[in-house]
Symmetry: C2
Subunit: 258 residues, 2 copies
């Protein structure tokens, strides 16, 4: 392979290279507060942020200290940014197999005072139960959940305000345009549970209205009824259970009622 000769002569330091390559994660969860038994839960979409500590892990003053930020860290040479995000999410929540998706790159000159640092932004969907043992680590004073309204009023580190805005846009879009909502739900769920998840990100009356949504769910090709099974967790009358199947979704804005 003639690449060998070319490689011998290639000077890896010919170009100015970035000072850092990092991965950040917007960890979303839906808190579902069941006020009473036999009631559908009230759900709220929340984002997990850390408050950067005053001193870093080596005892030196930390950059952007005391500001709120997305969890994240430096990508290692042996991994991709996505793998790095998986690793960090594992370290943070102790859980693997979490829905994780890349949604943007942030590399504007000056975005990080430490130098030319590029970050890959991901969002993760973590069931609330997996966040119970969330904990501050070396770099963080506190770990807290914020609603999407609260979060933009915080004092945020770096360009994380912009990243978070994009993250909210990305998850909203994906919840409505793909079947990622399944990651917020148990395997078998009632119409009102799915509805509650979707209502956290849309005001669409077709989703908010009980009968419309109830009728619609039966006609969706990517959702099927679980035959025979019912649950009482949302009401006194037993409710049918549904599950996502693997039918692909996808059409065009030119062909459907939009």
């Amino acid at each position: 392979m003639s690449n060998e000769k070319a490689l011998q002569q290639y000077d890896v330091k010919k170009y100015r290279t970035p000072d850092g390559y990092t991965s950040d994660i917007a960890v979303f969860t839906i808190t579902s507060e069941q006020k009473e038994v036999f009631k559908p839960a009230e759900m709220e979409l929340k984002l997990m942020l850390i408050q950067r500590s005053a001193l870093d892990s080596e005892g030196r003053p930390n950059i952007e200290a005391s500001k709120w930020a997305l969890p994240g860290g430096f990508v290692e040479e042996t991994e991709s940014a996505f793998e790095s995000a998986q690793r960090e999410l594992m370290e943070e929540t102790g859980v693997t197999g979490i829905h994780l998706k890349h949604f943007g790159v942030y590399d504007k000159p000056g975005r990080d005072p430490r130098g030319w640092i590029i970050t890959n932004a991901h969002y993760a969907i973590v069931p609330e139960t997996k966040l119970v043992h969330r904990q501050a680590n070396d770099d963080a004073d506190k770990v807290e959940l914020f609603t999407v309204e609260e979060v933009l009023n915080l004092d945020l580190a770096f360009d994380h305000r912009e990243i978070i805005k994009d993250a909210i846009k990305a998850i909203t879009n994906d919840l409505l345009q793909t079947t990622v909502a399944r990651n917020f739900l148990p395997d078998h769920f009632t119409y009102s549970e799915l509805q509650a998840v979707l209502m956290t990100v849309t005001d669409d009356p077709a989703i908010h209205l009980k009968q419309s949504f109830q009728r619609k769910i039966k006609m969706l090709p990517f959702i099927e009824e679980v035959p025979g099974e019912t649950t009482n967790r949302t009401s006194k009358k037993p409710a049918k259970l549904y599950r996502f199947n693997d039918v692909e979704v996808g059409s065009s804005i030119y062909t459907r009622a939009y």
Copy 2:
């Protein structure tokens, strides 16, 4: 601002950093071949690739020589990857104001034999007319257009096969889910011209069937008729002209006929 003290102690070389940060561009165009007058054009989606030259601009053996590749180059410290892509596209086509969109990051260890090199992938939509004076440059032997069927049979450099597959997926999706199709069309277009663009990426009968699509176009909120104007460029009978307006599109898979 207490960042100052932190910055003084921050060692920018603490972490292993990437060996390069690049931007690649999948330049798409639709070639429209009008076989006869008064006929709608037959359109085909094509991708512009360069063939890497044997020697680089400094006369040394080039890496991945003679393979086909996406145009691209190193990002400079003073710009973002997106700006770098804009600059490269300008250098390549001599045109600005082109539709350009980031669709992915490729950073798998080993993807580039020269080292730890991260690339940002973008796709661009360039009207065929703006590609007429396309030309080989220092790094490229040839510049050519390929159909999406042809392109995957070529000997492609680096991981560009994967990037190109993703680019095709991204543009297909965007053409059907957003109004980017406008970038392939004149400001005022006939129903058959829009139809021809969409047919390059979908087999949906609702788009292929004349009367269905003709009726549908009138009801789309983001397209409006240009009052009074007609054209004969696609038929003997004068055809109505339409234009995109700025109504936003967006709904959910749970609420419409999918």
